[in-house]
């Protein structure tokens, strides 16, 4: 089954994402910020990364830039969770190499639909 790295500094969001995805049968690894995620991504490959944008230590945009630079993540779908309805963050994300985004607030069904879409 596909493995997913879920990155969010908020425990409740992280749990919700992780619980939803695990419930759908995915393997989920959680990370609490960009630094944590990057170190986990270096030790294991993932089929998909879902990351929050605003996080301490390393934010989501920087994480995406770092991940995209890793050979193992060259083509991996990288999705950002963002509350920014403006284009600012999306554009920054795209520039950094993000595949797409999921706009908060979202519910588990929407999350799953997007994930399944990306993972085919």
């Amino acid at each position: 089954m596909a493995s997913i790295l879920a990155v969010d500094d908020s425990a409740s969001m992280r749990q919700m994402v992780s619980f939803t995805l695990k419930g759908a049968g995915f393997d989920v690894v959680e990370a609490v910020d960009g630094v944590d995620a990057l170190s986990k991504a270096k030790g294991q490959s993932f089929n998909l990364v879902i990351t929050d944008v605003n996080m301490p230590n390393m934010d989501g945009i920087s994480l995406i830039k770092e991940l995209r630079g890793l050979p193992a993540f060259k083509f991996t779908p990288l999705l950002m969770l963002t509350t920014e309805s403006g284009n600012d963050k999306k554009q920054q994300g795209k520039m950094a190499g993000a595949t797409g985004w999921i706009v908060k607030p979202f519910n588990p069904d929407q999350l799953l639909a997007t994930v399944k879409k990306v993972l085919g």
Partner: protein
């Protein structure tokens, strides 16, 4: 897929309160005029998280309030807005308001709407001087871009030219995924174009060179197509043209790559209104206990269906205990791998721990099955109201202890017996108003229905201030029905208990209030089946009471293992008062009436279990050799004579009737640690058995 978002609420509240603390201390540290990037970033992040979480978990008021704070913080962070003492103070006050909002939401309390609105207004004032504008745009995405050009004819489909730019694969977007999604919208015909494929020497394997000419037929909104291309609009050349019914010219509508500066459509790929959050008005406010009961009522179902809604805290407690259990188990198995005698103490500690955890786990699991008895009680006010007017009586029903929790099975099974008993009180117990006045009693009779926990039991009482049981009438009837002989030697109490005898009904006229259908014998049987007992109290002219005792849980019982000869029985611990060894001088033989012993000031009959059950060769044949277990059943006490007591243990109750039949004096069976079966004694049943078989005269002596 339905996921109960409520399970994440507690974590959300916890982290939000932490976030508020971070915001508060950050704001207090802030020097007006200067901006410390890290400081304001962490304040912003905290607000941002609260906003995102509250939106996701459906707390829209919190989300919209936090949104304004976030906007203000964002502008301060970017340097677009100076950090003024006024702004900092306003933010600090907002933190307080937000904390109250979170606390109220978390505890189902009430939000001070007025204060929230005032604070919102203050923030908005700082933000733009025009209150009310900012708060509205949370979650409400701007309307999607309308099609350019005034095409009035509805298209029959779309012609899409999709040419990924070479780098598209490196954004993690797969053109085939996009085409697959398009195909889900309607009937898709695609033609690949490989004309852009370079000569092999120039070929970059990681670049995309293919493009597609797609015809999507069907009643598809352009928005749906835009949504699909949302993530890649900068990574491809895209032309979307409506396919018009014949005769209409094709009009190019949007080419994202060609017109990159066109206003970015606000296209939320994933967006939906968060689930509505329940709001409480002042009128709704009740004590938390009531509300809990009420919530349970709504969710627990009215018909005793197959599911039960359980509080998260109960589940969390279970998970914790399972975790503990796993740790203890692995500790024990490690210990067992190379065990040596000097580790015996650790083994014993481990086993003690295991026992404690198992017991806690068991209690928690049982807790899951517990529901308040108000489920059952709630029908009685209406019943009493209707029946008393029918009977021309004045009756007040008082209920206490409705929140007492009982096993779900009890809720399901106790209803009918209780209805019968309450009807009896109404019909036979409470007198007509004029009779009551003549007897010097208040015109209005009272029925008290109460539930409470007493020891290991649930006690339900139906007590009325009516005329009490008519001893003579019961006696007459019992003789008439051949239940007792005319020259019986029964006490008043024993006469009263005859109403539980099979086929006994005292109503002179079978009224449609009681007296029909089930009798008291069935009531007692139902209660016995629940592992409980029923007692009756009567005070002529003053009233009567029915007292029902039920075990806390039905699946498991705390038992005392006793042995007689080579047989093992379980005595429910709740029935045991004490165990004693008697001396000869404490025993009295009553001619023809068996044995009694004196315990403190009371003479108690002795039941020899081996005689009662026909057990051969008991180890203890004389009373001094064995033990007397002083037990209580249906309000009567006696000494149960057994060979020996073994340990106490919790046993899982199994039915004997499932495959066999009811056995007098036995309430069920259980499977012991070695896989063998042990029978569980039914103490009230044993007392009756003794009275019936005449093996002992317990019943006569307990009068």
């Amino acid at each position: 897929m339905s996921i109960d978002m409520a399970q994440f609420h507690q974590v959300f509240f916890e982290e939000s309160f932490e976030g508020l603390d971070i915001m508060e201390s950050g704001l207090l540290n802030m020097d007006p005029g200067t901006v410390d990037d890290e400081e304001i970033n962490s304040i912003f992040r905290a607000a941002h998280s609260i906003k995102g979480g509250s939106g996701t978990f459906g707390f829209n008021d919190i989300s919209s309030f936090t949104h304004i704070m976030e906007t203000l913080l964002d502008e301060m962070r970017d340097g677009r807005r100076p950090v003024t003492p006024e702004a900092v103070d306003a933010l600090l006050r907002s933190v307080d308001v937000l904390r109250d909002m979170l606390a109220a939401t978390s505890d189902d309390g009430e939000v001070d709407e007025e204060r929230v609105q005032e604070q919102k207004a203050e923030l908005e004032q700082i933000l733009n001087g025009k209150p009310g504008e900012v708060a509205t745009d949370v979650g409400a995405a701007d309307a999607a871009a309308q099609p350019v050009g005034g095409v009035e004819v509805r298209p029959i489909g779309w012609h899409i030219v999709f040419r990924p730019l070479p780098h598209m694969l490196r954004t993690g977007n797969d053109p085939l995924r996009i085409i697959r999604e398009l195909a889900e919208l309607g009937d898709l015909k695609s033609a690949g174009d490989i004309s852009a494929l370079p000569a092999l020497s120039n070929y970059e394997p990681e670049d995309s060179y293919l493009s597609w000419d797609l015809h999507l037929h069907g009643d598809v909104e352009k928005q749906a197509i835009d949504d699909i291309f949302d993530w890649v609009e900068d990574d491809c050349e895209l032309i979307i043209m409506p396919l018009l019914p014949e005769g209409e010219p094709e009009v190019a509508m949007v080419s994202a790559a060609a017109v990159p500066a066109v206003s970015e459509p606000e296209v939320p790929v994933v967006q939906a209104a968060p689930p509505p959050v329940e709001r409480r008005s002042k009128k709704d406010r009740r004590s938390s206990k009531d509300r809990r009961t009420n919530n349970r009522r709504q969710s627990g179902g009215s018909s005793g269906g197959g599911s039960i809604r359980v509080e998260i805290s109960k589940i969390d407690a279970l998970i914790n205990m399972v975790g503990e259990l796993v740790i203890t188990q692995s500790m024990l198995s490690m210990l067992g791998e190379d065990f040596e005698m000097d580790r015996l103490e650790r083994l014993n500690d481990g086993l003690a721990q295991l026992e404690r955890h198992t017991r806690e786990l068991q209690e928690s699991v049982m807790q899951v099955r517990m529901l308040p008895i108000s489920f059952t009680f709630s029908r009685f006010p209406r019943l009493v109201h209707d029946l008393s007017s029918k009977l021309g009586k004045k009756i007040e029903l008082k209920m206490t202890g409705e929140s007492t929790e009982v096993d779900k099975t009890v809720i399901e099974k106790i209803g009918d017996p209780l209805v019968h008993l309450v009807r009896n009180s109404l019909d036979h117990g409470i007198e007509m108003p004029e009779e009551r006045l003549a007897a010097g009693k208040p015109e209005t009779g009272t029925i008290n229905l109460s539930a409470s926990h007493k020891g290991g039991n649930i006690v339900i009482e139906i007590r009325d201030d009516g005329q009490g049981l008519n001893r003579d009438k019961i006696e007459e009837k019992a003789i008439e029905k051949g239940i007792i002989d005319e020259d019986h030697n029964l006490s008043d109490q024993q006469i009263y208990e005859l109403i539980f005898a099979a086929g006994f009904s005292t109503a002179d006229v079978v009224s449609d209030v009681s007296g029909r259908g089930v009798g008291m014998d069935v009531v007692r049987k139902n209660i016995n089946e629940l592992g409980g007992g029923i007692e009756i109290e009567s005070d002529p002219g003053k009233g009567s009471a029915i007292i029902i005792r039920l075990p806390l849980t039905l699946a498991i019982l705390d038992g005392q293992t006793v042995t007689v000869a080579d047989e093992t029985y379980i005595v429910p611990l709740v029935s045991i008062i004490e165990s004693i060894q008697v001396k000869t001088d404490q025993i009295n033989r009553v001619a023809g009436k068996g044995e009694t012993f004196k315990l403190r000031d009371e003479f108690l009959p002795i039941l020899r279990l081996h005689e009662l059950f026909g057990i051969e060769n008991p180890k203890a044949s004389s009373l001094e050799e064995g033990l007397l277990v002083v037990v209580e059943g249906d309000g009567r006490h006696c000494g149960l004579f057994v060979d020996d007591l073994l340990g106490q243990q919790q046993v899982v109750i199994k039915s004997l009737e499932a495959n066999y039949q009811r056995v007098d004096g036995i309430s069920g069976a259980t499977i012991l640690g070695d896989g063998s079966v042990a029978l569980i004694l039914d103490i009230p049943g044993l007392l009756r058995l003794a009275a019936e078989t005449g093996a002992d005269s317990a019943a006569k002596l307990t009068a």
